[in-house]
């Protein structure tokens, strides 16, 4: 029967292997290769923190300049309690938003567009107001465990109301 010491050693080794697997590297490596993923033409919906629905979304075009597909699986931001990768999908006769199974796959040398009514990075539980002209940062993490920091500028958007609820009418009257 394994002693406690052996068990502890086994757990430690397992943890190290798991963590190394997460990062895709062995311990004590120097700086990792650049990810090759950028977000251009990005913007985030301006939303007050204390509104009815303190949620927002980041849009833009993810560009993969590397020669391998990159999959984003999760995100984090100081502006939101949680960050999710969302898609819009038809469910029960209505378009609804939900987490995208498998995350965002940006093909090698190609792009993936995040736009209202489509894929977006969802910011849930805002910690501060997002005002038009503010810059918001988020960290998106790849399946390999590498982080990419993206920025987005706040914009007033009459649309992008799927973030709130599909049944609600969209925004103000316009002209």
């Amino acid at each position: 029967m394994p002693t406690r010491t052996t068990l502890t050693a086994l757990v430690a080794v397992t943890l190290l292997i798991l963590l190394a697997g997460c990062s895709g590297q062995t311990p004590a490596t120097t700086a990792p290769a650049p990810v090759g993923l950028t977000l251009r033409d990005s913007y985030v919906k301006a939303v007050p923190k204390d509104g009815e629905m303190p949620m927002s979304a980041i849009f833009g075009v993810l560009t993969n300049s590397s020669d391998r597909d990159i999959t984003l699986v999760r995100g984090a931001s100081d502006v939101a309690g949680s960050v999710e990768l969302h898609e819009m999908a038809m469910e029960g006769g209505a378009m609804k938003m939900r987490e995208r199974k498998g995350g965002f796959v940006v093909p090698a040398g190609s792009e993936l567009t995040l736009e209202p009514g489509g894929l977006h990075v969802m910011l849930i539980g805002l910690t501060r107001d997002i005002k038009a002209g503010d810059t918001v940062s988020a960290t998106l993490t790849t399946a390999d465990g590498q982080d990419v920091t993206v920025d987005a500028v706040g914009r007033d958007l009459p649309n992008a109301n799927e973030s709130y609820a599909p049944e609600m009418s969209s925004g103000d009257g316009g002209w």
């Binding site: 311990p27 700086a31 949620m55 999760r74 999710e84 993206v150």
Partner: protein
């Protein structure tokens, strides 16, 4: 099929909270990995301001947005224009104005490069720029409102009230100006709509004045001694641009090739942040066409001081001839009447000159026969007080054309210098 927590109105909050706690474990794990020096390395991606090379330049030409001066002043006049003025929200502070100008400068840089603005809801209307220019200005009251009274340019002077004025508030004043021009009215309309949307958090639209001219395509260059066909459009266009009275417009304008052009138009830096900027006087001049129609050609020419057909001064033969106010006819009478427009408008000193870039308007309703048609008089100069006011004073008191025109709108603005990529219009003032 994943176990779906599809958010709808009722469930979104609780399911969001549930996901937060499930996420916490993974984030902690990632944090530990980072602490061990693994899997770090953040690549920073920033929003780009520059044109996207995947969009080819549009036909009809692109006018550069970046540069030492804003576009739309010396740019060849486009055939469609809109001037829109906005009133700043009372709560605005300098930090808000910075955000505002960053956003609209970004919109302008993209749209003039034939690219959609960020969040543009009609991106297809942005793919064709048609020489679009977007020019920004700030009105006199904005400086005090933002606590920047000391930064107000010396050349930005309010016009006094003139006896001839019948100014309407809906064509006058304003804190922020957006001047839009393009050779396609759809492009102008889209740009105006986009900028109005972007400004919505910061300012309310106060008025829009739309104009047109019969000069599509290239810059109309007048050659000494000849009329040259312009380029662009489906048929040759005459080089002379006219207003809706049928009179040649823009005679004796300072030209870019002339040595003092720069000092007439661009501020040398009064104050320093304003170097490379200019001021705009925008006056809506209604034409009382019902009585203008009662004149014959010679009556019009005596009021104007120029031939209708050619724009030549009555003392000369070509539009480019210098008016000779001393010329007399066989009876000793002045060839150019003393109270004609040309005689009163003519510069008495070299600095009484300014760059005119006017547009026609014609959007009156049936009951507006005598105010619905006219001229959006636009004049650009480094210093309104020294260059424009003396001329305007003479015209207000002594111009024969006053019998057939009525100023119904008036506004002045300071147009900041241009900016470089990464900057924004007005940065020198606001930062």
């Amino acid at each position: 099929m994943m176990s779906d927590r599809t958010p709808d109105v009722g469930a979104s909050r609780s399911s969001a909270r549930g996901r937060v706690s499930r996420r916490a474990l993974l984030r902690t794990g990632g944090g530990a990995a980072a602490a061990l020096g693994l899997g770090a390395g953040a690549a920073v991606a920033v929003p780009r301001l520059l044109p996207d090379p995947s969009y080819p330049p549009a036909t009809g030409g692109l006018e550069p947005f970046f540069g030492p001066h804003q576009a739309g002043v010396t740019t060849g006049r486009q055939s469609s224009a809109a001037f829109a003025a906005f009133t700043l929200r009372p709560v605005m502070r300098i930090a808000d104005a910075q955000r505002m100008m960053r956003l609209v400068s970004d919109d302008a840089a993209r749209l003039t490069a034939a690219q959609p603005a960020l969040g543009d809801q009609e991106p297809d209307l942005a793919r064709h720029a048609a020489r679009l220019t977007v020019t920004f200005g700030v009105g006199p009251d904005l400086f005090g409102r933002l606590g920047l009274a000391a930064a107000r340019p010396a050349g930005l002077v309010d016009l006094p009230a003139y006896k001839i004025d019948r100014l309407q508030a809906r064509f006058s004043g304003g804190d922020v100006l957006v001047q839009i021009g393009a050779d396609d009215p759809m492009v102008v309309a889209h740009a105006l709509r986009q900028l109005t949307k972007t400004l919505r958090s910061f300012a309310d639209r106060r008025w829009v004045q739309r104009g047109f001219t019969s000069a599509p395509g290239g810059f109309q260059e007048r050659q000494r001694g000849e009329s040259r066909w312009g380029h662009g459009g489906s048929s040759p266009q005459p080089a002379l641009v006219r207003n809706l009275m049928g009179l040649v417009d823009g005679s004796a304008n300072p030209r870019p090739a002339e040595p003092d052009f720069g000092s007439l138009v661009w501020s040398a830096g009064a104050p320093a942040w304003f170097a490379g900027g200019t001021t705009l006087v925008l006056r809506r001049i209604a034409m009382t066409l019902s009585t203008w129609d009662e004149l014959d050609t010679s009556g019009k020419e005596l009021a104007m001081g120029r031939r209708v057909a050619t724009g030549a001064p009555l003392s000369g033969r070509l539009e480019s001839d210098e008016p000779d106010l001393a010329a007399v006819d066989g009876n000793g009478q002045p060839v150019i009447p003393a109270f004609s427009h040309v005689a009163q408008a003519r510069a008495r000193t070299p600095e009484e000159r300014f760059l005119r870039r006017s547009y026609s308007y014609d959007d009156g309703h049936a009951d507006d026969e005598d105010t619905g048609t006219g001229l959006l008089f636009a004049s650009y100069q480094a210093d309104i007080g020294r260059q424009f006011l003396p001329v305007q004073q003479r015209l207000a008191s002594s111009d024969a054309m006053n019998a057939w025109t009525v100023p119904i709108g008036s506004a002045v603005f300071a147009l900041p210098p241009g900016c470089a990529p990464g900057g924004y219009i007005g940065q020198g003032l606001l930062s």
